[in-house]
Symmetry: C2
Subunit: 199 residues, 2 copies
Amino acid sequence: MDKTLYQLILASQSPRRKELLGYLGVQFSIQPSSLEEKTSKTLPADVVKDLALLKARDIYQQNLSSNLFVIGSDTIVVLDNKILGKPKDREDAYTTLEYLSGKTHEVLSAVSYVFDDQELTFYESTLVSFRELSSIDIKTYLDFNEYADKAGSYGIQGAAQSYIEKVDGNYSNVVGFPLERMITEFEKLFGPNWRERFA
Amino acid sequence: MDKTLYQLILASQSPRRKELLGYLGVQFSIQPSSLEEKTSKTLPADVVKDLALLKARDIYQQNLSSNLFVIGSDTIVVLDNKILGKPKDREDAYTTLEYLSGKTHEVLSAVSYVFDDQELTFYESTLVSFRELSSIDIKTYLDFNEYADKAGSYGIQGAAQSYIEKVDGNYSNVVGFPLERMITEFEKLFGPNWRERFA
């Protein structure tokens, strides 16, 4: 049986994803893709999967060494079929949070594994319900300065917990990517001792 | 209309609850209750509500100043009607995690507000589903040293995210207490400008 030892690379600059991946107990390095986040897809699930794959492929191709295992990922927030990206500024974040107020939105995170001659891409969807937010609520939240660089203008692991009524689905998927599902995929590829392939 | 300005006290030594309460954007101080966690109740929801109330009442009574608003809280993990407390040691944590493996358990957090001549106690229940854990999975998790002092021997905000398939309900309720529900109760008591009562 093939027992290739892979060099694991996370193709993301997100500190949340770095933290999450660290929980697996395997070695990895970080090499963010600087690819512009552009895709010809339009359906939310297709968009997020395509962006995850493009990032992973970008880093895989930049490295000439063999035995690479690259993880790419992307997260989007969707409400009424509209994709909400990262806010441009505080005002933009205010508008987004006002839009999320009192509603349930969907968070999609996709992950791509690119290694050997394989490309494996999957995603999970989690529903997040916000309470009704007053303008004071939104301002109080924005003062924590956690909105920047976050899809949907909030981070579920911080001060936004004040306003989140309910989560339905995988939690780490909202933080950065679906860690539990990633383990399932590692197990499918390498069996129960998958960690040994990244030691 | 009465516009008492309250001095808010958190009767808990949990760093998670301190962090969560900080997200409300109001001033508070911390005064943990050293009360032994004992109750004559047996039903999980009654147990957790009673312990939250006893802690809040303890701190309220220790302070002679008026205008106190004390928050007490307790969290328990329940599976098959069995209450899982904090682990005694690593071995005990191993046994608990093995028990939670592949199953959905319930996390109950109760909160008590004690102020003036009022005692208000409420709780929320959140379902958490764990994946099947191998003994390597459990050992990997225990090596992160996050199990101590946590009901159910895990902290949802850390490395346990590897193993949590699904959350159904309020998330902060699993971290420490149901922050969003607490805001709802503040609003019921003091109206939309409830923050001004703790400024």
